[in-house]
Symmetry: C3
Subunit: 338 residues, 3 copies
């Protein structure tokens, strides 16, 4: 029984005889009241995932002995404000659906997973891309967030803080089709995390139907934890044919009282045009417990003459803005993990 007790983290069940084997039910339910504005109009309602994406998942690890382990991870995104999932409004394991074999050699992972080139734009954003405050430093020109039919290799832990992932995803087109390479993706991510330092870079390509439709993704992030505050920098670029958008985000998180202050300033530059925009956001998350947080965020987005970005969030679409206009976002929410 000790084994069962010690294995209980979140809703974890010990499985069979091996102490290290378990199946875990886990999730996040995160709902807020939000208001987004732009160009004299606004929309008010319930949002979801303002602090962390709402989700329900099942994962497990089996100790195979000799340092080997098999594991699985099935994770579905949720819109808790409406009860809907992410595939036609219904549930699917759109966030992650993988089986892995791991050992001293590292980990081989098969299935649908976060794209290697997405992760930095999440990790080095104080808002983790979520809610009114999250950055837009991804999918600027169509880069994948999650990607199906992927094979990843991860270096093992214990390399003095150095980590790396190589990911390949199959487009699965017939070999004799004119677009036989479409959907093939390769991504590489490498980083160093030790003590207060965290730096990482990623590069990748998603092939289109033609060379001109390929999407190339490059990004880089760095943060340093001074204890009283953790500043971060993110630089991200996407190219598609002649189009190119570059984002730079400065962020900071700081422990404050029983919670965390977070803020970001970011700039999105479209090459050779004034379709540019800037975003500023500040928020505070107050921890009612380790699992439950009340949060509030305000954000402002201003467009240059050629852009008309407006702030929208999961569960509450943007109300739009005009070319060169601005947009605000306000969100007050409750995030509960299990």
């Amino acid at each position: 029984m000790k084994k069962l007790l010690t294995a209980v983290t979140a809703a974890t069940l010990a499985v069979g005889a091996a102490a290290q084997s378990s199946v875990t039910l886990f999730g996040v339910v995160d709902v807020g009241v939000a208001r987004v504005t732009g160009n004299g109009t606004s929309r008010t309602g319930l949002s979801t995932g303002g602090a962390n994406i709402s989700r329900l998942g099942f994962r497990g690890v089996e100790d195979l002995g000799g340092g080997l382990a098999a594991s699985f991870w099935l994770e579905a995104g949720l819109d808790v404000d409406t009860g809907q999932g992410k595939t036609g409004g219904a549930l699917s394991f759109n966030r992650r659906s993988t089986v892995s074999l791991a050992g001293r050699f590292g980990e081989v992972r098969l299935g649908r997973d976060d794209a290697a080139t997405f992760l930095n734009t999440l990790i080095f954003d104080p808002f983790l891309t979520n809610g009114v405050g999250g950055n837009n430093a991804f999918i600027m020109l169509g880069a994948p967030i999650q990607i199906s039919n992927a094979v990843s290799y991860f270096l093992p832990p214990g390399l003095g803080g150095f980590y790396a992932q190589l990911q390949y995803a199959f487009g699965e087109q017939p070999s004799n089709a004119t677009n036989s390479q479409e959907g093939n993706y390769v991504g590489l991510r490498a980083g160093y995390r030790a003590g207060p330092v965290h730096v990482a870079l990623a590069t990748g390509k998603l092939q289109g139907a033609t060379d001109g439709a390929d999407i190339r993704i490059h990004n880089f992030g760095a943060s340093y934890d001074f204890g009283v505050l953790r500043p971060s920098l993110l630089w991200a670029r996407e190219k598609r044919g002649t189009a190119q958008i570059t984002a730079v985000e400065l962020g900071v998180t700081a422990p404050l009282g029983l919670g965390e202050l977070r803020a970001q300033a970011s700039r999105y530059d479209t090459a050779g045009s004034d379709a540019d925009w800037k975003k500023f956001a500040i928020g505070y998350g107050y921890n009612l417990s380790k699992r439950t947080q009340l949060y509030a965020t305000v954000a402002h987005l201003s467009n240059q003459a050629g852009a008309q970005r407006a702030i929208g969030v999961q569960g509450l679409a943007a109300s739009g803005t005009s070319l060169g206009g601005s947009s605000n976002g306000y969100e007050l929410g409750l995030r509960h993990t299990f």
Copy 2:
């Protein structure tokens, strides 16, 4: 370990150190063989949810200390006869998807939930709106059963039997749209339950694209438990523009042997027309255990000259009837809760 054991009700897991914190997997699988008739035609097949709506859910409570608690509830409706869910045939948490914060002040609940104006039509029907015997005293003119993007406030327990809920749901239209109010909903429900007495009333409005398209809902229920039988009364009205339907249902449940007898007589009156109908139903549920019940129900519906309602159930559509015709329903099922 005691904590784990004592917390185990249904498939409940104690989480972390706090005895009051848990995550629970729960559900109902309810399948019957049913026959519905009308106007010389009939349909026979498997139905689902004849005694209680089939469902699968995950819920949890976290004790935050100081009388505060955070909780979540994710509940998906099922058609067990076909394995399908309720969003495009697939699973979603259409029945409930909420996160709550509760304390001495009461409970604030965010997400998708039962509409406050639906609950009396469920609770004061001996058949809980289910199967061939359930009433039709809801969605007569389009009132919501569950509603998304809702914020509810519930009074705390311990007010001498008095309870109340105020619910507001956002239509989430842009503020400058001509239908900017469409989908906004407000509902109020209040009741008193102590000893054998239970009374409750509710009133609410779902805004349409125009004032004339608003749906107004009013209902009232009462029951008294004499021990040998529990009679109940339900009165419910919906208005939409000039249309108005009023339902009155007399019900009774009575313990009988190892189970429960249930019966209802109800009348549905369409204002200013003879599009009226009546329904009678009687059923018995035999408890094989606290969790498992065999049930049988028969029902008869008779229309006046201007109506052609026919009995259909979850998983088995009505076979239809003629204007002024009648319709019967028969159902024999097995309900298992977990």
Copy 3:
């Protein structure tokens, strides 16, 4: 606590006081890298369910006393390579969704389940119909794999190895429709399994809109376990109007090292035409543990002049072939059960 411990198999929870009552979370995640070829073209990517269909399920049994038990089973098919389910890409309990009452009399089961006429084509195939190696001895002319709205009766265990199932499914058409019988299905399956011997036969009919559209299914399987190898024979026939396809499959499985060798040779004959084809497959599954297997399979399919079957698998569609052409399949995967 003993009760909880002894009941723990997979992620099983003891429920309430009865030791025999439990709710179990279970599943299979099976992903492979596969390549299918035909007529000079090919497709390469991730497949799913190459050894066992990927799935996620919830099941439970309640001991009612006196030899009676109630149980439920909800099982959703998964495409782990994409995270999708099987209804519009989202999750539903398409594989099984049933409630049962069982006792000394046998078992009555209601809901969606494997068709009685499907099971032999699964059980007597060394590849269990899965992956590049699986047979095509089912749904040749549209026979059901799973079927909704079904009532089954199973003989109780303990009849000296003899077992049988009678299954009826409702088409649920209105009684006065011209196609009032469409979708009605009846299937009978009976077998004998004792020591090394296993034989079973099945027969059934799925009614179409007209008599000519009825599908008639007959099949028979046998296997004998010599210990060092287990040969098997499967004969299966489907008829629809004047169309008739007959499949014969010879299979063998053999323990080899820490795993199992499996092979099959099968022939599919279309009556009165040369739209015939043959398939050969050989594979090996290496057990990393009781729950986790690495597997590899190769298969070859050759068509006669009138057929153009090509090998495709779950998660990776066939790339096609020409009339009279051939097709190959290669798959290397990891199957993990929980």
